[in-house]
């Protein structure tokens, strides 16, 4: 022990940082801020360290070349001992990182910590969120598989919509005319050099400001922030009921960071690494690309936006959202901090959380996409075929062969793009069915040119059998009159 102490003294005599470390560690924080609610920032930092370490580990093997990247990931997964585990840690680490950064942001927002004098801390935090998302997207590209390839295509298609300079932005993003070697190389440079450099800088500034300005005090309803008096009040608060950060508060940060890191380790062990999915060969078109978890909500939004709204929403939406976040501390830099007195803030968070969760949930089921192999892979359940006429069964065949099943479900199987057809005969009469099939409309293609009259007749006959037992199919009330003779008798039983 004495040796360690003397080495420490020798080092500090030359480094001269012991005093400032001690001062930082023992700075007073408001006792109530030493709370389990104040652990997310340090947990994000801990995950960031994990990402740096595992990222460097992966760089020992990974080859950032479009021709080799995918097979180098296979090597990592299968031929390098525990390579799969390092990949899994890095992948799960990124998911946890995005989640913790978002939770941290939500907590800071609800606790009013962005108000005077911590406006700049919040603004740097917004930049930290953006670079974290940048890391997540560029990392997904480095897992150079089918999803990464087509995800880049989506990124290029969105960028190309920027007025005037769109095509140039695409070329700059891709490093050339197509997604190829140059694309991967520049995303490697972004993911490994540029964005981490920004991230480390922003983290340093962010932390420095937390230390200089002091951690946000626990918000109390009625304790209003005023620029004229706040600093004095905060000083008094820390003097009267402050505790030293070490050991008063840090043990909670340490416990929570350990818990998060352990959770990542467990998830990585049980669920393994993400992909890679199929090789990045654009001639393999039997693929349904999906983004990673944290961008699923965007994937869902993109399918629900009407065509006319798409370009404005894609280009203006993010700008408005980021501007709103950046301007927040200037628009609400004073006033109540407690979420108990800020109902709109609480509603905003709830709305954002519900929207994100809903869109993510929808994107996991992609009800807007045709099920590409439903027509050949999912048979019509037998109850829809029993006791049917030859014509109706012929119609069922048309239903499969013409890929109707890709977009329409029967007995909850098949596509969810269009309405389920289990009881379509109750909703639409024969004439309406024929019209819908031939002319389409309401987001359904017109099948008039693709169906022979006999096929249409058979298909509609089959569709007319689709009604719950005991509930009769829809019937045009004027039909019997139109088909009857002048005396009012039915013209014939079966016209």
């Amino acid at each position: 022990m004495r040796l360690i102490a003397s080495i420490g003294e020798w080092l500090d005599e030359r480094l001269q940082i012991g005093a400032s470390i001690r001062e930082t560690a023992e700075h007073e924080v408001p006792r109530k801020s030493a709370s389990w609610f104040y652990v997310f920032g340090s947990a994000a930092f801990a995950v960031f360290i994990l990402q740096i370490v595992t990222g460097i580990m992966l760089a020992l093997i990974y080859v950032p070349s479009a021709g080799e990247a995918w097979s180098s990931l296979q090597t990592l997964n299968h031929n390098v001992s525990l390579g799969w585990y390092i990949r899994a840690l890095h992948g799960w680490g990124s998911d946890f990182m995005v989640a913790i950064v978002l939770i941290h942001m939500m907590q800071v927002f609800l606790f009013g910590a962005y108000k005077y004098p911590r406006e700049l801390t919040w603004i740097v935090g917004v930049f930290l969120l953006l670079v974290t998302l940048g890391m997540a997207f560029s990392g997904q590209v480095l897992r150079f598989d089918q999803d990464a390839y087509w995800g880049l295509g989506i990124g290029a298609s969105i960028s190309s919509r920027i007025p005037l300079i769109g095509p140039f932005v695409v070329n700059l993003l891709l490093g050339g005319p197509i997604i190829a070697g140059a694309t991967l190389s520049r995303f490697f440079a972004l993911h490994v050099f540029v964005i981490p450099g920004l991230l480390i800088t922003f983290v340093a500034v962010h932390l420095l400001m937390v230390l200089k300005l002091g951690i946000n005090e626990w918000p109390m309803p009625g304790r209003v922030v005023r620029k004229a008096t706040y600093l004095k009040e905060y000083r008094e608060l820390t003097r009267n009921e402050g505790v030293p950060f070490v050991p008063g508060a840090i043990w909670k940060d340490l416990f929570f960071s350990a818990f998060i890191l352990f959770s990542i380790a467990l998830c990585a062990y049980y669920f393994g690494p993400f992909g890679p999915s199929g090789p990045p060969d654009p001639t393999i078109i039997q693929t349904a690309p999906r983004p990673d978890y944290f961008f699923l909500w965007l994937y869902a939004v993109l399918s629900y936006l009407p065509a006319s709204m798409e370009t404005p929403a894609l280009l203006i939406g993010p700008v408005v959202a980021i501007l709103a976040l950046l301007l927040l501390p200037f628009l609400a830099g004073e006033g109540e901090k407690s979420w108990r007195r800020r109902p709109i803030a609480v509603l905003t968070v709830l709305l954002a959380a519900v929207a994100l969760a809903t869109f993510t949930h929808l994107a996991e089921h992609t009800p807007w996409s045709p099920v590409m192999d439903a027509w050949s892979g999912i048979p019509i359940p037998t109850e829809f075929l029993q006791n049917r006429t030859a014509l109706e069964r012929q119609g069922a065949l048309v239903f499969q062969v013409k890929q109707c099943h890709n977009c329409h479900s029967l007995a909850n199987q098949g596509g969810k793009r269009g309405p389920a057809l289990d009881s379509v005969a109750v909703r639409l009469t024969q004439d309406q069915l024929i019209r819908q099939v031939i002319q389409g409309g309401g987001n359904m293609p017109a099948y008039g040119k693709n169906l022979k009259p006999a096929e249409t007749t058979a298909l509609v006959a089959f569709l007319q059998t689709l009604h719950p037992p005991g509930q009769s199919p829809a019937r045009d009330a004027s039909r019997s009159i139109a088909l009857s003779d002048e005396a009012g008798k039915p013209a014939s039983k079966n016209p």
């Binding site: 070349s65 479009a66 021709g67 080799e68 087509w150 295509g153 989506i154 290029a156 298609s157 960028s159 190309s160 919509r161 769109g166 095509p167 140039f168 695409v170 070329n171 700059l172 891709l174 050339g176 005319p177 197509i178 997604i179 190829a180 070697g181 140059a182 694309t183 090789p279 990045p280 060969d281 654009p282 001639t283 078109i285 039997q286 693929t287 349904a288 690309p289 994937y299 993109l302 399918s303 009407p306 065509a307 370009t311 807007w368 996409s369 045709p370 590409m372 027509w375 062969v401 013409k402 890929q403 890709n406 977009c407 389409g440 987001n443 359904m444 293609p445 017109a446 099948y447 693709n450």
Partner: protein, 180 residues
């Protein structure tokens, strides 16, 4: 009071030193920016597109739509499979063709052809197109992108080389006449 004089001389040299570094910085910035902008340099952009063969005409029977692939004309040795691009070739009537980009006009995912219902469907957000490439349903704002094509020596050639995107579809013309 001699000190301020010498200080101001040093202050002047400091300012001059900052100015010299700024000047060198600007001089260095020119090649750096040009290097960064090389993918959009005028000379390179013009060379992105050229005529590439898709194969003999016999590979594309009349009235049918077939998948074709080509090697992108601008290519690096380390591009691997990514420089192999697919497209859909529709032989309309034996003499007229339509060559569609594989990329959905919505966000670029690969569309698949369903011959039975004569539709292209996209697996990402559910864009659907008719056999002539026009929009049938879903989020796309327009029909499929089409390549210029020509027939030369019994081969079908298309003008390709750049990924078509909604903002850049200059090579797209509807109802184009064959060149040869």
């Amino acid at each position: 009071m001699t000190l301020p004089a010498s200080l101001s001389r040093r202050a002047f040299f400091t300012k001059l030193g900052i100015f010299l570094n700024g000047l060198v910085g600007v001089i260095l910035a020119v090649p750096i920016v040009r290097y960064l902008l090389s993918p959009v340099a005028r000379a390179r952009r013009q060379g992105y597109e050229s005529w590439v063969p898709l194969g003999n005409l016999e590979q594309f029977p009349s009235g049918e739509t077939r998948l074709a692939t080509y090697r992108n004309p601008v290519v690096n040795p380390w591009d691997g499979d990514t420089a192999d691009i697919a497209c859909w070739v529709r032989n309309v009537d034996g003499t007229t063709f339509q060559v569609f980009a594989i990329n959905c006009a919505h966000l670029g995912c690969p569309v698949r052809w369903f011959a039975q219902s004569s539709l292209f469907m996209c697996p990402c957000h559910g864009g659907v197109y008719y056999q002539d490439g026009s929009r049938a349903s879903g989020p796309p704002e327009r029909g499929l992108f089409q390549y210029h094509y020509k027939i030369d020596g019994g081969k079908l050639l298309i003008q390709a080389g750049e990924m078509p995107t909604p903002g850049h579809a200059t090579n797209i013309v509807r109802g184009i006449q064959p060149c040869a």
